[in-house]
């Protein structure tokens, strides 16, 4: 503790330089916190996926439809105790930017496959009885102030009616909850029959089938058996579990992990050179001062420790401020990532990274200060 003023005075010798260096580390860690936080939040989605559900999609692309006739054939595969189907709708409310995760689903069977979805039984019944009925997620309902009984129009980016319009009107008959997953609580489900009757094209097809496994460990076998049914047919399938399918879905937005790692890598690479160079310069300028300390009886090891302490103080405080800012900003990203707070693992990873940064940029100058020979320095060499 008693050395802190000494360490501090070293950092504070060139204020502007230190502040600029400090700021660049803060920004780097802010970026790290946000990007890595988003990345981790997506990872949470992948982790929480279940392995007892399989997704049967077109082999060509998951946006390609499959014939409804596949249903009966898939049901013949052993090891399946539930099946349903759904489709993309691409809906938005009033404005393109109010995108709604909306899906026409086979309502009789769909919700049985998703025990995570909490819905009062009478509301589910209401959906089955109401052709134009819709179940909306609690978050979505809150966002637009929707209540049961409301008539809600959505426009589809994909599906038009035979008359060319794309307005679809729904009656909200229920509000469901998906505890612990804000993203899923923003979904919008409605009857596939209403959808299929109203659309101008694609009738008799579905987006994907959802299959429930009787035995969760039999996923790969069941998947292979399903895909084998349609091999060499015009509508080949690809069956994946939820985790694979979520990852594949996320990959459509680019490999987020890869992008995040690349950006963070580039930022830290630059930061390393920038701050490393500054640190080197700062210590080189102050070598005579380290010679004074050694004259007074500071050992070589103590001088090494002082330089490292300086580097640690700089990097750790800047990193903590950067991560702190990221944590403060994170709630505003909730709409995007669906997670409320910066994951703790990101904070500790950031802390570790800050220590590493400090050791790398402080290491060489510290060794230089350690090796400094007093008499040479006093002589001005």
């Amino acid at each position: 503790m008693k050395y802190i003023p000494l360490v501090w005075s070293g950092l504070w010798r060139k204020r502007t330089r230190t502040i600029l260096t400090f700021a660049s580390i803060v920004v780097a860690f802010l970026l790290f916190g946000l990007l890595q936080g988003v990345n981790a939040a997506f990872g949470v989605g992948v982790q929480s996926s279940r392995l007892d559900r399989l997704y049967v999609q077109s082999r060509v692309s998951f946006t390609d439809p499959l014939p409804m006739g596949h249903l009966a054939q898939i049901q013949t595969v052993k090891g399946i105790d539930g099946i349903s189907y759904a489709n993309w709708f691409g809906g938005y409310y009033q404005d393109q930017k109010n995108f709604v995760f909306s899906y026409p689903v086979e309502a009789e069977t769909y919700f049985a496959l998703y025990p995570e979805i909490r819905i009062p039984p009478e509301q589910l019944q209401a959906l089955l009885k109401t052709r134009t009925g819709a179940l909306v997620g609690s978050e979505l309902a809150r966002k637009f102030g929707w209540k049961i009984g409301d008539k809600v129009p959505l426009k589809s980016q994909i599906w038009t009616h035979p008359d060319g319009t794309s307005d679809w009107v729904f009656d909200i008959v229920g509000i469901f909850d998906w505890p612990g997953d804000a993203n899923q609580s923003r979904a919008f489900y409605f009857n596939h029959t209403y959808f299929d009757e109203g659309r101008a094209f694609g009738k008799g097809t579905v987006g994907w089938y959802i299959v429930h496994l009787a035995d969760v460990t039999k996923g790969p076998e069941v998947g292979k058996a399903i895909d084998a049914l349609f091999a060499n047919s015009p509508n080949e399938t690809k069956t994946q579990n939820e985790k694979e399918s979520t990852q594949a879905f996320l990959r459509q937005f680019g490999d987020i992990n890869f992008i995040v790692s690349s950006i963070i890598g580039a930022v830290f690479f630059t930061l390393l050179f920038l701050t490393g160079n500054t640190m080197m310069q700062s210590i080189r300028e102050r070598l005579p001062e380290f010679a004074i300390l050694k004259t007074l009886g500071f050992t070589d090891g103590a001088v090494l420790a002082l330089v490292l302490a300086e580097s640690l103080l700089l990097c750790l405080t800047a990193a903590l401020i950067g991560l702190g800012l990221a944590a403060l900003m994170f709630p505003y990203l909730k709409a995007f990532v669906g997670v409320l707070s910066l994951p703790l693992q990101v904070v500790s990873l950031g802390g570790g990274l800050a220590v590493l940064l400090a050791l790398v940029i402080g290491g060489i100058p510290a060794l230089k200060a350690k090796k400094l020979v007093i008499v040479d320095s006093l002589r001005g060499q």
Partner: protein, 229 residues
């Protein structure tokens, strides 16, 4: 009387490229405790080299160096550093203060290496600042002090851990006559009142006159004043 410093047959040479420069060739020097010794001699004669050996900042190539009762030539690097912090105070021509630290923090530096508490350190710093007459400048940075004041702060720093030996390399070389005299009076007082042994290198005969004994170094050998041509 016990000896504060005893150099015996000390040889020091530097290698400059392929050439060997012998600076000290078998130097003997004895400084009794409580002495104020002035070392004089032409530039390049090896005065600073002698001081650095006495202060444990540099090592001899051969010979023995005994300071404050310890064979410091046999200490390792860290041992030598600890020894310096306990036994020697250094005063240089250009003060060598830490520019980023206030006067009192500069004076406190040697005490950071002790086990003294914060309050004890403060008490020692207060006394040292009072001895050099700069209690009112304690919060000033070196750049806010005159040369003479900076040298006083350096003296306070050299004194604060209560070493037995003060080593001064041209302590007044950068000061005007009057300020130099004030500094020399201060050193003389420390020698007489507090019994500090002082070894001072100087070019200046007037400065040397404050000392209790003068020796001359030339071509790596000591010459007593009476032997001089």
């Amino acid at each position: 009387m016990a000896l504060a410093v005893e150099l015996r047959q000390v040889v020091k040479h530097y290698r400059r490229g392929k050439e060997m420069v012998e600076v000290l060739s078998g130097l003997d020097l004895a400084v009794p405790e409580g002495e104020f010794l002035a070392i004089m001699g032409p530039s390049g004669s090896g005065k600073t080299t002698v001081l650095n050996l006495i202060g444990g900042l540099d090592r001899a190539n051969s010979g023995s160096v005994t300071v404050c009762g310890e064979r410091i030539d046999s200490l390792n690097g860290a041992g030598l550093a600890r020894w310096r912090s306990r036994h020697v105070g250094f005063i240089f021509q250009f003060y060598n203060l830490m520019p980023g630290l206030s006067a009192e923090r500069n004076v406190e530096l040697p005490l950071l290496l002790t086990h003294l508490s914060r309050a004890e350190r403060k008490a020692h710093v207060d006394i040292a600042l009072e001895v050099v007459g700069l209690s009112d400048r304690r919060r000033h940075k070196p750049s806010e002090l005159s040369g003479g004041q900076q040298q006083r702060i350096a003296i306070a720093r050299a004194l604060v851990a209560d070493p037995t030996l003060l080593i001064c390399d041209e302590p007044t070389g950068d000061l005007d006559r009057q300020t130099a005299d004030e500094i020399l009076v201060l050193l003389q007082t420390l020698n007489r009142r507090q019994g500090k042994t002082i070894v001072m290198v100087t070019h200046d005969q007037k400065a040397a006159d404050y000392a209790s004994r003068q020796v001359h170094v030339d071509k790596g050998m000591l010459i007593a004043p009476e032997d001089r041509p």
